[in-house]
């Protein structure tokens, strides 16, 4: 394993050469929101439009053939990246869409069943009053609101696994919360706000014990560590491309072929069909069943280049780099009086997103002072408002690192936090 060289990696990211706020070099510590993109990703997208832009899976001309080959080649690359079968990977717009695709599989199967059950629907996706859906108290809104909607539409109950004070899942009541009436357990692998890495295999095993579908939101984990998808133990996994060096507008749903076949389609229309008659239609096999309309081909070419970039670094090396940097950041942060880490304060089973509060300062003001130093962090509730409530904070400041960050970036952020304390006179 060759250790990462962030200084060299930085040179592959044009945006990291720019300055902000009157000439300050940009220090980007917001990769948990979206990662920056290397030149090779940008070139790949441009190259696609310049050489073989065409609609995929239709047309008999050479461009259409080449575009289809590139589109499916990207699917094979992402599959290989997570040790999966290409046919088990569905392209979506983003992880939010992937999660909604599954939520709508439940509500569509239930509606079709109630309308007479033609075609018959898989009972795992038929959900009734008295059934329940389980999430955790550390979910991103994307893995919460779709299930709230599903429960509101079907009369099912939404449950959640609570958290401990140090930001871990409280699992003592797992077996009573996930019970015989649980239809789905959907949990985040690595929290975007707390940084906690959850024991998803254990949770998925409990879901399967009671016959529930098990789903994992891997948005924050998959870009940062080597993942062999079957080891998560889930039936379905959602993540997005833009957090792993890829462009916006491309996300993924991985599912076992068995579960993907059992799910009714979400968005319907062109190219997801088998036979269409005026009286009704039948649908293509997964993954095409879930890929209606003209697809985001250029983004798939971009994510292919992103995966190549990460493979060249080696995901073991990426994980080791981030683990070391996270440990350093936690050490530095906890040395600043007034700073409280929200989430695990130890560098065990935690990723590189670190949320904190600064006594006497609102996160918006901390972020503003950091911004004046050229440092980009995220402030707010991070689309995990209930998690903020759990820790009695209206919002947090979050720094998050990736392959192009090094200790000097952390040092700059620490100096910025102290400067904020001095500016507002709370030090």
């Amino acid at each position: 394993m060759t250790p990462l060289d962030p200084a060299r990696i930085k040179r592959d990211f044009p945006i990291l050469e720019r300055t902000v706020r009157d000439g300050k070099p940009l220090i980007y510590l917001d990769s948990a929101a979206t990662s920056q993109k290397p030149r090779s990703v940008l070139d790949a997208e441009r190259g696609y439009y310049e050489s073989c832009n065409a609609a995929v899976h239709r047309g008999a001309h050479q461009l259409a053939e080449e575009a289809t080959e590139a589109y499916e080649g990207a699917r094979a690359a992402i599959a290989s990246f997570i040790s999966a079968e290409p046919s088990d990977i569905v392209y979506t717009k983003n992880a939010t869409e992937s999660l909604n695709l599954v939520a709508y599989a439940f509500s569509n199967a239930t509606a079709l069943h109630r309308a007479g059950g033609n075609p018959p629907q898989d009972p795992r996706f038929i959900i009734s009053p008295g059934d329940n859906v389980v999430v955790t108290e550390m979910e991103h809104h994307a893995n919460l609101v779709p299930w709230q909607e599903l429960c509101a539409k079907t009369g099912a109950e939404l449950r959640w696994l609570p958290l401990t004070d140090d930001g871990r899942l409280e699992l003592s009541s797992l077996d009573s919360i996930v019970d015989e009436r649980t239809k789905l357990l959907s949990v985040v692998h690595q929290s975007n706000i707390l940084g906690t890495i959850n024991p998803v295999a254990l949770l998925m095993a409990r879901a399967h014990e009671v016959g529930a579908v098990g789903m994992v939101d891997a948005c924050q984990s998959l870009p940062h560590m080597p993942i062999s998808i079957r080891e998560l133990g889930a039936d379905l996994v959602a993540w997005s491309g833009h957090k792993m060096l890829g462009p916006t507008g491309i996300g993924f749903l991985w599912g076992t072929s068995e579960i993907l076949d059992a799910m009714p389609p979400f968005i319907t229309g062109g190219s997801m069909i088998e036979i269409v008659k005026m009286e009704g239609s039948s649908y293509a096999k997964a993954p095409l069943k879930f890929e209606a309309g003209t697809q985001m081909v250029a983004q798939t070419i971009g994510i292919h280049a992103a995966v190549d970039f990460l493979n060249a670094l080696g995901m073991d090396a990426v994980e080791a780099h981030e683990h070391a940097l996270t440990g350093y950041a936690l050490d530095q942060l906890t040395q600043i009086p007034g700073v409280t880490v929200i989430g695990p304060a130890t560098n065990i089973d935690r990723g590189s997103a670190i949320s904190f509060t600064v006594s006497g300062l609102h996160p918006h003001d901390v972020g503003q002072v950091l911004d004046s130093h050229g440092i980009a962090v995220r402030v707010g509730h991070h689309c995990a408002w209930p998690t903020c409530r759990r820790f009695n904070v209206p919002a947090t400041t979050r720094l998050s690192t990736y392959i192009y960050n090094d200790r000097s970036d952390i040092d700059a952020a620490m100096a910025g936090i102290v400067a904020a304390q001095e500016f507002f006179g709370v030090k």
């Binding site: 609102h362 918006h364 003001d365 503003q368 002072v369 004046s372 402030v379 707010g380 209206p394």
Partner: protein, 152 residues
């Protein structure tokens, strides 16, 4: 970037020493507004005195800009006529949409003129406007102002 241009001394003073920050005993109308991107919250309450002038109370939590803005507003408009509050709100909103190029009138906005530099930061404009929009809502709910008089 000039932090002092954004956080003028007046703003920091109102943030650290908020004026009129308490609920009313008998509000006629109240409005709770949040900034969903950052979780800032403010609840503004209004009532009218014998002459129909405004009594304002508020509670809130959030960043320095939103909370100082609430304090400035409450101090400025306590005892003002509803017409004056509409006039001040229109002036404040116009200033916040001017990207820092406004020349605000202290006679109308009082300490509110200190927010002129905040308008250069699009992410903070919402924070500054939060209490002013809540006041408008509270005035409508209290029946002190018809919805059609709403400030854009």
């Amino acid at each position: 970037m000039d932090l002092n241009g954004l956080y003028q001394e007046i703003i920091l003073d109102h943030y650290k020493h908020p004026r009129g920050k308490s609920p009313l005993a008998a509000p006629l109308g109240s409005a709770h507004h949040v900034n969903p991107t950052c979780g800032d919250e403010v609840t503004v309450e209004v009532a009218a005195d014998d002459r129909g002038n405004l009594l304002i109370g508020y509670e809130g939590q959030g960043c320095s800009i939103s909370q100082a803005s609430a304090s400035v507003m409450a101090e400025l408009l306590e005892g003002a006529s509803v017409g004056d509050s509409v006039h001040a709100r229109e002036a404040f909103v116009a200033m916040m949409h001017a990207q820092g190029n406004a020349d605000p009138d202290e006679a109308v906005l009082g300490d509110g003129v200190a927010f002129v530099g905040v308008a250069k930061y699009p992410a903070r404009v919402k924070c500054a406007l939060l209490p002013w929009m809540a006041l408008q809502d509270a005035e409508i709910k209290a029946g002190l102002m018809a919805p059609k008089e709403e400030t854009r």
